[in-house]
Subunit: 130 residues, 2 copies
DNA sequence: AGTTGACCTGGAGTGCACTCCAGCTTCTAC
DNA sequence: GTAGAAGCTGGAGTGCACTCCAGGTCAACT
């Protein structure tokens, strides 16, 4: 099964331009081409894209993704360094999760304050117009 | 208590340049100045900076922070719209937390795979050299 | 009085991750 | 056989959030 670029974009959640951009910067391998010279993405291509978008979602910079992609080409021999990249990245993600959660607490606290402020105001208003 | 810009930078975790930048774009009010025309940040200034950095950590774009800062100047009257901004942002943060967690699962899965790959390789090596 | 270091201003430059564009080709449908 | 949609290329442009710089001021120490 192969997919035209529009379909690949749709399935990966990336834009057509971004797919071509990722190819240019060697984040993905040039996909096969159909008889008319158009890109024909394979399921493997899409799987790799899906993984890349996860890395992106977790905030991995493109440079590091490229490094990872480069290692992938070396096959099994590069399993160890690839693992190291993912492990380090995992730590980053965990740290960010913790940060996010603690900021969320502050946000909740603030919202709660506004809640009370608005409630107080409403009460005042009711009393004033009573 | 007031703080020179270097101290304010240190305490807020922002760079000196970023502090001046935030002032230029009206994210923070111009702090007081000492006799020599140098910025003298107050505790209030630092508290506001601390909150801004939380918003930043949670990925709020500067534009929205500016909007929030603008509303703040209108005092109590703007409590409701400010609350709305924080509530919407809270939803964003929750969504990102969920995304991050699900991506983390994929990451864990991949790392686990590499774990097995490396273990298998080691075993092979041991067998080959035995 | 002179040197050093922190700070000042306005403006230019940077890095990242796309995003858009002009001008061209190729398939599909009528 | 022609119109329109989808895709192609190389290169330029965008938005965001800083970051850096030149050239100057000010205060404190020696």
């Amino acid at each position: 099964m192969t997919y035209a670029i529009a379909e690949a974009a749709h399935r990966s959640g990336l834009s057509i331009d971004t797919l071509r951009y990722y190819e240019r910067i060697e984040l993905i391998d040039p996909p096969a081409r159909d008889s008319g010279g158009r890109r024909a993405y394979s399921d493997d291509d899409l799987n790799w894209l899906a993984f890349l978008t996860r890395l992106r979602t977790t905030g991995m910079p493109i440079k590091l993704m490229r490094e990872y992609a480069r290692l992938r080409h070396q096959g099994v021999a590069s399993a160890a360094p690839r693992k190291r990249i993912l492990e380090r990245h995992r730590e980053d993600v965990l740290a960010r999760l913790a940060d996010l959660r603690s900021c969320l607490d502050v946000l909740d606290y603030k919202i709660d304050n506004y809640e009370r402020m608005c409630a107080a105001e409403t009460t005042e208003l009711r009393e004033a117009t009573a």
